[in-house]
């Protein structure tokens, strides 16, 4: 009995600590989300938390002093005297507070505490960022170039155009390879598989310089094909490994009966293996898709500064560099780029987690 009671008491503490941690984890994102809906001027003047009701001094009256009051002497207001410094910082008199509103005009605010919330919210930030009419981007040499109406919407489509094939191509290629590694016997099989496993954790930096040289020679730089191939190659080891783990676990009878019916390997693969692998394909597909969607380095190197194929992460990084204080643009742009990952996260959480876990740990 006693043990049970003790456990219950602990549960309350556990819930509280976990609640605090969750709150800390959530708060930066919440701040970004709220700020992205606030008018540009508000973001820069007050913290985003001011949208929640809070106590603040509200001006209820203004007192104008006559011209001949000497500000260096104690100043008399409503029968009490205050020094200039006191009025600068604000001084309490009863429930009210007195503070200079405009010292040169000799105006003093009379303020009362009250509940306020700056609830002015707007969609203008999103409109600006999506249509991008107001952009002026600074080049690396300091010159300013006007972005002509492309904005994030163009980058959004570019990202999608890059991400879909860069997900499907490696998955298709890797699945074919995984099938061969798992169920076909051929010379060089072990060596090649070992090489693929070795490539799993190789930092892709080791490939960038030579690949860029090849791409420049072939004219692949800044083309969709080039970036698909790069993403496909960099994702291949992981996807092959993941699919190998799945396909090699399929029951052997499956293949034998299909073979007896005279099906070719291609037919077995596309009619039997692919449909059976849908859960695994979904998991690793989501992983690869998000990896490409969120990628910055590969795009930075193989796309460079060609605006017509730039992806969102580059656009946002550019914004941070060139308009680092324009929080109304940054917050909404960042949130737009988060929409897709968050949608996938909340709608396909099961596959997402499995893909991420399989993405680094077997199982």
């Amino acid at each position: 009995m006693a043990g049970k009671k003790k456990k219950k008491g602990k549960k309350w503490l556990v819930n509280l600590i976990l609640g605090i941690i969750c709150f800390i984890w959530l708060i930066p994102t919440v701040g970004l989300l709220i700020s992205s809906f606030r008018p540009a001027a508000d973001i820069l003047q007050t913290g985003w938390w001011k949208v929640f009701p809070h106590q603040e001094w509200k001006t209820t009256d203004t007192i104008k002093l006559s011209r001949d009051v000497d500000l260096r002497e104690p100043i008399e207001v409503n029968g009490k005297t205050y020094s200039d410094d006191q009025l600068k910082a604000g001084v309490k008199s009863g429930d009210e507070r007195l503070i200079w509103e405009n010292r040169r005009n000799r105006e003093i605010s009379v303020q009362e505490p009250g509940w306020v919330a700056s609830t002015k919210l707007t969609l203008d930030n999103y409109k600006n960022v999506i249509s991008g009419k107001e952009y002026t981007l600074k080049g690396p040499d300091g010159s300013e170039t006007k972005e002509k109406g492309t904005g994030l919407s163009q980058a959004f489509w570019n990202t999608l155009t890059i991400a879909i094939p860069a997900t499907v191509i490696p998955i298709l290629i890797a699945s074919f390879a995984a099938y061969a590694f798992a169920w076909l016997r051929f010379p060089g099989r072990k060596t090649m598989f070992a090489v693929i496993i070795a490539m799993l954790v190789v930092p892709l930096q080791v490939a960038l310089i030579p690949v860029l040289k090849d791409y420049t020679a072939l004219g692949l730089n800044g083309s969709y094909l080039g970036i698909w191939l790069a993403h496909s190659a960099f994702g291949l080891p992981l996807v092959t490994y993941f699919m190998y783990n799945f396909i090699s676990q399929l029951p052997k009878d499956l293949f034998e009966s299909a073979f007896i019916d005279g099906a070719s390997h291609f037919t077995i693969f596309s009619r039997l293996i692919l449909p059976l692998s849908v859960p695994a394909l979904a998991s690793i597909g989501i992983f690869q898709f998000l990896w490409v969607w969120n990628d910055y380095l590969v795009s930075l190197i193989f796309i460079g500064n060609q605006p017509e194929v730039q992806v969102m992460s580059m656009k946002i990084a550019d914004l941070v560099g060139s308009r680092g204080n324009d929080w109304h643009l940054l917050t909404s742009a960042a949130f737009i780029s988060m929409l897709m990952p968050l949608a996938i996260f909340f709608l396909l959480q099961k596959y997402f987690v499995r893909g991420l876990m399989g993405g680094s740990v077997k199982g």
Partner: protein
């Protein structure tokens, strides 16, 4: 007669194979040229590109499989595996394996890759102040970042396991995993934002002021502590990963062992260190290596937050700087190889693990 027929058959098949090969090269080459030179509406281009990219690869396999099947059974059985793994091996060879070797080669040459300098670049990297800072910071990232991610992930996994709202708590902690480092950079830049005066719009500075402190420019002026503020972003993003995997592992600890320990009067802390930790030690090791490998390559966060200024340079950003801004291929390659050397033990470990499991 029979062998003659077979030979003819093979010849015909070989011819067909060559035709299929040429056809594929021609068709895809033509489409590529078309794309490169077209000025279509971007949406249409995107749509076509997606269709081509996806259908093209499928048709590639289809046509080659068909061509290989035209050979006599004996030959086609030997050829087919290479059709299946061919594209993967070619792609990997061209874009990852060979480049790694070429980078290694380049790392022994000077900035413009025309003079052999031996180990000169490696010596320079460890003595040059900027590069040494990058190495120092990278160590800091790996050490502090990994330790914090693993410890926090473990703590949260344990807490979540005993709490009454496990699912939602895990979702919240895991959520940052989904978003990009660039977006996370913006989120945290806003948290750390500093402006002179008492009215702060950055959360951290507002809290500091509310507690009666002085506002700080966290990621710029506060050296060398600014690195820690960048590492917090990594912790925020990666703890969820560690937590999810630990959580699954902790659930695998058999209940009867835990019960037995409790009956024997062991406290929760004792149970944690004596039973849970040893039980999940393999998972602990895997997660730690994964995060170390990930942290070694850290790039996006630093790039977005500081661009590597204010002494926050890491190896990957320094690599980018040497490679793209200074066009120093020697230093660039050497830095990449340093990263590669750092992960070599993990590669060895992975290979041994696979060999144990699958008989490779």
């Amino acid at each position: 007669m029979n062998t003659q027929a077979k030979k003819n058959f093979s010849l015909k098949a070989a011819l067909l194979f060559v035709v299929v090969l040429l056809l594929n090269i021609f068709v895809h080459g033509a489409i590529f040229m078309l794309f490169r030179d077209s000025t279509l509406n971007p949406l249409l281009t995107a749509l076509f590109a997606v269709i081509w990219g996806v259908a093209g690869v499928y048709l590639l396999y289809l046509s080659f499989s068909w061509a290989v099947e035209q050979f006599p059974e004996q030959i086609s059985r030997r050829m087919l595996p290479y059709v299946f793994i061919g594209p993967a091996v070619l792609l990997l060879g061209w874009l990852l394996v060979l480049p790694a070797l070429r980078t290694l080669y380049l790392s022994f040459f000077n900035a413009s890759s025309d003079k052999f300098v031996g180990l000169g670049n490696y010596l320079a990297i460890f003595s040059d102040r900027l590069l040494a800072t990058a190495l120092r910071n990278n160590l800091l990232w790996v050490f502090v970042g990994t330790l914090a991610c693993v410890a926090l992930g473990l703590l949260i996994a344990i807490l979540a396991d005993r709490s009454s709202y496990e699912r939602i708590a895990k979702s919240i902690i895991f959520m940052p995993m989904a978003i990009s480092f660039v977006a996370a950079g913006v989120i945290w830049k806003f948290v750390y934002y500093y402006q002179p005066g008492t009215e702060q719009i950055g959360l951290l500075n507002a809290i500091v002021i509310a507690l009666g402190g002085e506002p700080q420019a966290w990621v710029t002026m506060l050296q060398p502590w600014n690195n820690f503020f960048l590492i917090i972003i990594l912790i925020w993003m990666q703890t969820g990963f560690a937590m999810v995997i630990f959580s699954a592992a902790i659930k695998g600890v058999p209940d009867d062992i835990l019960e037995a320990a409790r009956v024997d009067g062991a406290g929760e802390i004792r149970i944690f260190f004596r039973i849970i930790i040893p039980y999940i030690s393999t998972t602990l090791l895997t997660v730690t290596t994964t995060i170390i490998v990930f942290t070694l390559k850290i790039f996006d966060v630093v790039m977005v937050m500081t661009g590597g200024q204010y002494d926050t340079e890491v190896v990957a950003t320094q690599f980018y700087r040497q490679f793209f801004m200074y066009r120093n291929f020697g230093y660039g390659s050497t830095l990449a190889i340093v990263l590669l050397i750092a992960v070599l033990p993990v590669i060895y470990f992975n290979l041994r693990q696979i060999r144990k499991q699958g008989g490779f």
